[in-house]
């Protein structure tokens, strides 16, 4: 921190000779910060495209197989509501676009929100923004520059996605020319662009980075819900035009390539970004347009010790996650009948069965849905650990550990809360899925859905344990270890779901170790192993944490 401030102070106090370049200091600092993640996601998106295309072409070799897939899957309204409509699924390009667009769109949006709230409200929270504004800039100009820097990150992601797509498109079985490849890459990073602007705007509204990210998250959630309703076949497809995710869907890359929605995307980005810049110029540094109440009545009930404090700190985030898990569980349960009925007649069944699901169409659909819920739950687990690490990194633990609080008990308390939350969310997803199923049909029992809900907990316990071990041994890598394990498992599932994959490699995915309940019974042996390894890793992490120096950022 000191070094950063010294470097900034040096950068800001430069002579007139370098005035022009120094006027773009904020932009350069932002681009330096966002470029690594831009490069990373550019490569990941590109690999997604290439792996999806080549896996499809190797599995669906004949035109008949491809036509069968297209006829069954393309007409499935429920799947269309969840993942968007499938167009030209009998072509490699059409299937690839359908297969990855929503995943990349959501990842891009989350990245955009994270990056822009970090670069704007996060810098303001830390006090660095104020220091920066003592240089030759204003709040408005600095915000504009930060947005320009963020744009550089999106450009890097687009460039790499486009390069890998164009490179792989040269292969005969994919067959995508340069222009469609560039357009497809643009569609894949479009949400990052739009939600960076949204994050910039909410950074003006929220008093803290967390608030800003929460507001932007609501926009993303609303955008997804609107698109889902629009694609649900209920005659309100026009709603797709009021959702940023809907605009990306309407680009129809690699199939009908419609550039018109680009106008909406660019206008939206420009309007929201400009609003952020103007609002920044019209408020005090450190202030927010949605004012946080400076005073509050003391609520002392949970503040009798470090354990209660931990509950108090994580409660708001967990309530948001809980609502998301409950709504998702209910919706998946609700559409499972229609989706499952269609699925049982489609060749998607074989893809899902490669992910370990079997049984009736409804059960297979629910099995894969719980796989998605398992991914969400690992995000919760990693989020809990990164929040725990932040307590140390931001120096708040000094106040607790200079009082009679044992390190081991403190971390054990945080982990216990995380485990209880994970189990609760597992149960919640099972119960809400059952409620959703019960509203439509009662073909799946409550017990099997409850089992399926609990079945998604072990992978997140494993990741929680691994991240705890990282926190004990190499604290700065806590989040990296968690997200790397998650990304790897996702990538393996992603590729393995499409085509044949080496068994050993497939087994390295945590989600593949998890049985696709309720379509098949939970694999207790595998669940116990994942849980046991997670607990053992957490125990080692606890020991290491108790023995090492506390470390800041």
């Amino acid at each position: 921190m000191k070094l950063v401030l010294v470097q900034m102070a040096e950068d800001l106090n430069v002579g007139e000779a370098s005035r022009v370049s120094k006027d773009w200091l904020v932009a350069r600092r932002t681009i330096r910060s966002v470029l690594p993640s831009g490069v990373l996601w550019g490569v990941v998106f590109g690999v997604f495209v290439a792996s999806s295309a080549f896996s499809y072409s190797s599995v669906y070799k004949t035109q008949a197989e491809r036509a069968s897939l297209a006829s069954a899957f393309g007409a499935n309204v429920s799947t269309s509501a969840l993942f968007g409509p499938g167009l030209k699924l009998d072509t490699v390009a059409g299937y690839t676009a359908f297969h990855i667009w929503l995943t990349t769109a959501i990842i891009g949006a989350v990245w955009g929100i994270t990056a822009s709230t970090k670069a704007l409200r996060g810098e303001e929270d830390s006090g660095r923004w104020e220091l920066m504004l003592t240089g030759r800039t204003t709040q408005m100009r600095a915000t504009f520059q930060a947005l320009s820097g963020l744009l550089g990150g999106v450009f890097a992601a687009w460039l790499l996605t486009a390069a890998i797509t164009a490179g792989s498109g040269r292969a005969q079985q994919f067959g995508v020319a340069l222009r469609p490849a560039l357009f497809f890459a643009l569609a894949l990073v479009a949400t990052a662009l739009m939600f960076m602007a949204v994050g910039a705007l909410t950074s003006q509204l929220g008093a803290t980075r967390r608030q800003a990210a929460t507001y932007a998250g609501w926009v993303l959630g609303a955008s997804y819900a609107l698109r889902m309703i629009a694609d649900s076949g209920t005659g309100v497809h026009w709603l797709v035009w009021v959702s940023p995710l809907g605009w990306v869907e309407e680009l129809k890359p690699l199939t009908y390539s419609d550039a018109l929605p680009l106008v909406a995307i660019f206008l939206f980005t420009l309007a929201v970004g400009s609003a952020a810049v103007v609002l920044a110029g019209n408020r005090d540094v450190g202030a927010a347009l949605i004012q946080d109440r400076p005073h509050a009545r003391a609520r002392l009930r949970l503040l009798g010790g470090h354990f209660g404090l931990a509950i108090r700190l994580v409660r708001p985030v967990l309530v948001n996650w809980g609502i998301a898990v409950a709504i998702t569980g209910f919706l998946l349960g609700y559409i499972s009948y229609a989706a499952g009925e269609t699925l049982s007649r489609s060749s998607m069944y074989s893809i899902y069965s490669r992910l370990g699901a079997s049984g009736t169409g409804i059960e297979v659909f629910l099995g894969v849905s719980f796989l998605v819920a398992a991914v969400v739950l690992t995000f919760v687990a990693i989020g809990q650990l990164t929040a725990t690490r932040a307590e140390e990194a931001e120096g708040r633990l000094d106040q607790l550990f200079s009082r009679p609080v044992g390190r081991t008990w403190w971390l054990f308390g945080r982990l216990s809360i995380a485990v209880v939350v994970l189990v609760f969310f597992g149960v919640l997803s099972g119960v809400t899925a059952w409620l959703g199923v019960a509203v439509g049909t009662t073909k799946v029992s409550f017990v099997s859905l409850l089992e399926a809900g609990l079945n998604i907990v072990p992978p997140s316990i494993f990741i929680l344990g691994a991240a705890t071990l990282a926190m004990g041994v190499w604290p700065r890598a806590t989040a990296t270890v968690g997200y790397s394990l998650l990304s790897w498992s996702l990538l393996i599932e992603f590729i393995g779901g499409i085509g044949a994959m080496n068994k050993w490699l497939f087994d390295t995915s945590l989600f593949h170790q998890m049985a696709a309940a309720p379509s098949v019974p939970p694999n207790l042996t595998s669940d116990l192993w994942m849980t046991a390894i997670g607990i053992a890793a957490a125990a080692l992490g606890l020991v290491a944490f108790a023995r090492r120096d506390l470390q800041g950022r």
Binding site: D292, P294, L303, G305, R396, D398, Q399, P404, D549
Partner: protein
């Protein structure tokens, strides 16, 4: 025999090849106010974090009331409180919630004294921490440390961010703590504060303790400040025995004198002296004489955290 409040022996901390603290041995008896001085990067904060058990020593040991600061950290913490220069607090809690939490975590607080401190430091405890100025956040930490009436208070730049009135209030609180027999370990850059409050002072340089003792003791062994006004010819005194840092302007000369006074008086007796005043050095002058006029030491090898 009564255990010293704080005792270290050969306490050292290395970060790779960087020496943050080397072979620190000191003993602070109960009831003493001990000042800990040194420029940035000298190892003061490292020492404090070792005493608190927040970091592990590379060698040596530290004890508080005979309890090992590493192995018996929780027992040690029952008897101490700590005030950092800039505290990390929970932004969503109010001042009152924070004081309640820290008091309950510590296990013992004097409620009346806490309320009294809140008034004395003029703190609005209904505000959320994120809305406090730096000075107000520092008040929260100071009150939380004082309200427990611990046996030992470890203070690291405790008045940073406080206005002069609050600084004065803080000094009064330290005086009261001393009267109650509490031990205070005070690391500060405000030398007047240390001079006013501390019974003994230790000075660190590049991770090593280079001076320790009472101010009287240090003054006794350090240079005397002399101001001489001549009526006629002004001699060059720079070569006189024991004389250093000579500054002259017109008929006046100021200098520092180490060792016996007699040789200088013999030189001066040959000139017409109007006035000669002498005084002992202030802590600031002592400090600067140990580090050079700029107050900067060669920080090679020392820790970066103070």
């Amino acid at each position: 025999m009564v255990d010293p409040a704080i005792r270290t022996e050969g306490l050292s901390k290395y970060y790779g090849s960087v020496r943050a603290l080397s072979d620190l041995s000191l003993e602070i008896p109960q009831g003493e106010v001990f000042g800990f001085l040194g420029p940035n990067g000298a190892g003061k904060t490292t020492t404090i974090r070792l005493l608190l058990g927040l970091i592990r020593p590379s060698a040596g040991m530290a004890e508080i009331f005979g309890l090992d600061c590493q192995k018996r950290a929780v027992d040690v913490h029952k008897r101490i409180t700590y005030v950092p220069g800039e505290a990390g607090l929970w932004p969503s809690l109010t001042g009152e919630e924070t004081l309640h939490l820290l008091g309950r975590v510590h296990g013992k607080i004097d409620e009346n004294y806490r309320n009294q401190l809140v008034k004395r430091f003029d703190l609005d405890v209904t505000r959320k921490i994120r809305t406090y100025s730096r000075g107000n956040r520092q008040k929260v930490i100071l009150i939380s440390a004082l309200m427990s009436r611990p046996d030992v208070m470890i203070l690291d730049e405790p008045t940073s961010g406080l206005d002069p009135i609050m600084e004065h209030e803080f000094r009064d609180c330290v005086d009261e703590a001393r009267e109650r027999g509490q031990t205070i370990f005070l690391s500060s850059h405000i030398l007047s504060e240390v001079e006013a409050l501390c019974d003994r002072v230790g000075i660190l340089r590049e991770g090593r303790l280079i001076e320790i003792g009472t101010l009287e003791h240090m003054r006794h062994f350090s240079a005397l400040q002399l101001e001489i006004s001549f009526a006629g010819e002004v001699p060059d005194l720079s070569s006189a025995p024991g004389v250093s840092v000579v500054k002259s302007g017109g008929q006046n000369v100021s200098l520092q004198l180490s060792g016996p006074v007699k040789p200088l008086l013999e030189v001066l007796s040959r000139y017409e002296v109007n006035r000669l005043t002498s005084r002992e050095p202030s802590l600031e002058e002592l400090f600067l004489s140990l580090y050079g006029e700029g107050g900067q030491s060669d920080e090679t090898g020392a820790g970066a955290d103070g």
